[in-house]
Symmetry: C2
Subunit: 210 residues, 2 copies
DNA sequence: CGAGAAGTTGACACGAGTCAACCTCAGTGG
DNA sequence: CCACTGAGGTTGACTCGTGTCAACTTCTCG
């Protein structure tokens, strides 16, 4: 911690661009960092959004690579940064540090593979359910009547997380609200039945044709 | 090499299942290994297919994890395997070995992210073009009139690589053949114009080989 | 209170999956 | 040598999910 230098980002400020050389290991203190890829036609795809406690650029910095994604702050965000040389020193002294970094990389590899699977097989509805479940795990706060997702969460933002359009997200949320699965408001979601949400995310039973 | 033990697999033989503990580092000598994920509904999604020279289970074995995918042989396949303990010894003696492994992991992370982007934004046609371009890089053999993809490649197989249906693959290939972009036959594809194929793919020329 | 951002809803279009029918080869056994 | 068979491939008809667009409502903030 002592070896780190702090960084401050305003909302929507770009920290690094896809292709930039990686000079530092980053740790999110508060706020969020959205990692996205830009296709050749200029369309942005959100790969992941990381919150407090997450490490960014782990593998790339060990290997001396460039960023595979673009990083943008979501909301006011504070980070800690370790220059590469400093980090390698630290690893020399505490080899477990490398194992910790590799462990998070392994997790993310799993998640990335799972994402590929979801995109290849699932429906927009399933992906929305999955996105909500992830948000619940990371930022859920129990309140009366359900679990609140404790952050400003616009329809567009949620749609990005689920790789769908704001319109589809709006329609699906509206239906779920009608069915009593959750309550929605402006920039706000409260999940009432995590169980049913998980069912929707997992297997799409019911309406199977004869 | 001396420390490795050989393995032999028949066509469609399963080497490991998603969730199995990883005991060895694997190197493909000849043939191919298809890595796939199974969704909760039992649908199989091909994550990647690796050919000769590729390392499998690199990150998982460093971290003592389980396989995130299922591995199946495509065609008669030979592998070399290093038990985990043996590998760690080797890394101790030759630290560059670890860097080499990490380097392939970094490549694959890039590829996985690119795949997410493709699935989220691209059409089936683009993904088919990309799949063919990858095959060209890995197994292209120039013959008169174009570049042959040097392996038995059925429509279903190609469709799997591009995450689409055999029917769509068939239709698209038929059209491309009509347009003189390539020549198709039973289990066989010859690409005539790599340039036009790359244009269709969206000019996403990502480097990095297995 | 006005303006603009956020969200809703309906109409429509289109890509692509599914299914059925069909074609066409490569082997195999009589 | 030929007919049979089955896997591999093609093609058309149909359906459905979901993206796009336009018009509208509702909330928030200065």
């Amino acid at each position: 911690m002592a070896a780190a230098s702090p960084r401050r980002l305003a909302n929507e400020e770009i920290l690094f661009l896809q292709g930039d050389p990686v000079g530092e290991l980053l740790l999110i203190e508060c706020g969020q960092l959205r990692l996205s890829q830009i296709s050749s036609e200029g369309e942005e795809v959100v790969v992941r959004v990381f919150g407090p406690g997450a490490i960014v650029a782990g593998l790339a910095i060990l290997e001396g690579r460039t960023f595979p994604v673009t990083g943008t702050a979501v909301g006011e965000t504070r980070l800690l940064a370790w220059p590469r040389a400093r980090l390698l020193e630290l690893i020399e002294r505490h080899p477990r540090l490398r194992d910790n970094i590799l462990s998070t990389i392994a997790d993310r590899m799993h998640q990335s593979l799972a994402r590929v699977r979801e995109l290849a097989t699932g429906t927009a509805e399933q992906r929305l359910a999955l996105a909500l479940l992830r948000l619940l795990r990371e930022r859920g706060r129990p309140i009366e009547g359900g679990i609140l997702i404790d952050q400003l969460l616009g329809r567009q933002q949620l749609a990005d997380l689920a790789d769908t359009s704001m319109f589809t997200a709006s329609r699906v949320l509206a239906r779920w609200a009608r069915e009593g699965l959750l309550e929605v408001g402006r920039q706000r979601v409260v999940v009432c039945s995590t169980r049913r949400l998980a069912q929707l995310a997992g297997s799409q039973i019911s309406a199977a044709a004869p």
